[in-house]
Amino acid sequence: MGLERVVNLLPGAVMMGCTYTLVAIGYCLFFGVLDVVVFCCGDIAMFGAFGIVGAYTILYSAGLIQALPLVVMVLLLLLIAAILCAALGLVSYYVSIKPFEKSSTLMPLLSTIALGTVIKEVLGLVFQPVVNGMAQAAINVPDPKSVVGGRNPQGMPHLIAPTGTTMERNLIIIAIMVVILMALFIFLNKTKMGLSMQAISQNRELAFMTGIDVKRIILTTFLIGGVLLSVGGFVLGNYQSIIRFDGGTMYGIKGFSAAVVGGLKSTWGAVIGGMLLGFVEVFAAGLLNGGTQWQNIIAFLVIIVFIIFKPEGIIGEKTVEKV
């Protein structure tokens, strides 16, 4: 394996890492304020990706896509996805978490898995007859149904540097991700709202006693988490070109694994866990013979090794507070 090969794989690895990081941060934020694993994160992200495809299709038939400059159009689509996902985030809070506030943590675990399945199947139903011609044209697949695996795949339009190379596209997306992550970290560490989220995560009782409106912060977390997940769906869709309604399940499991490997309550941990997973996957696929079939096996074996030797996570803490 030559150095050149490694360099070529690097942007893809970082890219994949970024997509996992986004969904891992989603898990982190929700777990932080609720102490509950919200298992439908992957499906919310996929909902965002489908939102983009759907909005693109509608706008295209209205002739708006052709009329607008690319940047405006991309921002518009992202905005639509963000609103959809934030709304879905709120819905998932009210439907699958709030009713179980006082029950064991197993209940919301199950209810969010159930809700994730509902989201997924509804996406499948709604997009079943569409197999969008417009997006199809954009990705040059003559018959999207011919794409291997899965039911009714949808073509994600190339929105980032449509005429550029994959490398250029990856670099642009990585740059956007860095900006988003920086904004997120500034928000979490410098604003009262962000610090309140961390406060709830670190000491819920004291957060109440401090006068933090915990309920409002939880709702805000679901809004922000939804927006982040929509970006995750967008980036993932762009990377894979073909999205499937059930793609959120694997994406969610990988994001969750990244979050756990990083240390479920740490956003930095989520970044590291996400990158680790992205690197293992892309390099396994790129460097091994027939590696694509092995990438998931290797990635999940690495996860098992990590949770055996570092169960508290890379940035997790063994003891919460000195007693």
Partner: protein, 238 residues
Amino acid sequence: MSDNTLISIKNVHTHYGRIPMLIDVSLDVHKGHVCCVLGANGAGKSTLVKTILGMVNADGGSIAFEGQDITDWSTHKRIAAGIQVASASIGTFPKMTVETNLRLGAYTVHEPKVLAERLEEIYESFPILKSRLQQKAGTLSGGERTMLSIARAVINKPHLLIMDEPSLGLAPIIVDEVFRVVKRLNQHDNISIMLVEQNANKALSVSQFGYIIQKGQILFAGEAEAILKSEFMQNPIM
């Protein structure tokens, strides 16, 4: 209720599940006073604090603060109204620095300028914290953590400061220091304090009035002097 009453709790009941925790508790704290609530472990002291804050619902009875009925208010609304709790056992935000704990803890202070002034005041009255500002709160010693929990509450200039067992788990010399702080906050800063304690002698020495609580019920209420002389002080369980 006299004009001098800051908080008035009347006939409050609470329970956890089916277990009654507070039974018909009535209690007043007067403006400018230190009022102590004494009781053994499991007597219902912490439940009382959480009921006052609205973190535990009162099933019956009422709570009035500064003349307003706050029985149905949410916790954050009560705190915005001027009630603060300093509780060492609830702890700190362990992964944040001492400074962030204080800044975020000053949740009811909205003006950056006022916040800066208050921080300076806190550094002056709690010099031990000043030398620890950039340290993670989770790494503080027990005494330092208690001081941080008190400072975090005081920075909001509360009308009523509830101190939940400030002497818990501290070395005697630090306990003395804590009670000096209690006295200073009351006499110098003119803060009304409800002091919830197991250490009856110490607590009564800084209080004007006291209540004894046992098995969720108020057993005795009276002037601090009277409690000191009473039979309750002979009882080793107290």
